[in-house]
């Protein structure tokens, strides 16, 4: 394990190259399979891979999802069942807030609500760097909040 170091070396020259960063959504078991289906229906997510939990499989219990990778827009999101083990990175379900950009804010909101999300408030004008355009909000059945935003011009230049 890395030791705690007392220095500023890393501050000066971050030398490590990172590739993908994937948000990990952990839902109460055994809802991960449903959650994957929801994200497909609500947001058109594409399932890239799924790994089931081996122990549960062997025991003939309800199969649990160790991790499912979803392509969602340009990002990859991971969905897992909460598995109560020492190796699990979390001990309770993990919810998050996500900014989801689309030119079709109304259609996206409608599609998400049809799939089972709950609309939160009205469409408004965003003022944040990530949501400088029109913004609507939905809460999904697993507790995550999705800000459906039209792409802001100031971000389009750097993050198209």
């Amino acid at each position: 394990m890395a030791e705690v170091q007392n220095g500023t070396e890393a501050e000066k020259a971050p030398a490590v190259a990172f590739m993908a960063v994937k948000p990990w959504l952990v839902v109460d078991a055994p809802k991960a399979s449903d959650a994957v289906q929801f994200y497909k229906t609500a947001f058109g997510a594409e399932e890239l891979s799924r790994v089931m939990h081996p122990k549960r499989k062997a025991n003939q219990e309800t199969p649990l999802v160790l991790s499912a990778e979803l392509k969602l827009g340009s990002a990859i999101v991971v969905v897992s069942d909460l598995i109560d083990e020492d190796s699990s990175p979390v001990k309770s379900a993990v919810t998050g807030v996500f900014c989801l950009e689309t030119e079709e804010v109304e259609s996206a909101l409608s599609q998400a609500v049809t799939a089972g999300a709950t609309a939160v408030g009205e469409i408004s004008e965003g003022d944040a760097a990530c949501c400088g355009g029109r913004v609507g909000k939905v809460k999904d059945p697993y507790g995550n909040i999705w800000l459906i935003c039209s792409p802001p011009k100031k971000c389009a230049d750097v993050a198209a």
Copy 2:
């Protein structure tokens, strides 16, 4: 606002195109500025844009970050101060779990710990779709868990 519809139309043909998906980390105010610096030092994040909260600025209080966009690997992550307003998408700080891929697991862990993260457990072999290689964990000062993973082969084909 979109009405709840009773149908399977969206299931059959998700027609909405999504672009960027950005995880949004909301930290207790006024720590967002520190958090941005931490992610730069710990993970080599690049700040793309920052929007300050206008009211706080006018009142000469501690300036709060409405949103800062960070490029982290191939992803964009947004960091905000928790601002207690009706328009705020959340009412409490938001933490998450992220899988962060790199070929240099040890160096990345060391760099993160040097920057102020706390190592969690030992490096192990991952068995999930997103972390099929070697995996180390750190918790950052804002409560987020980062799984530092070597890229799994089964993911490299589809998500390189």
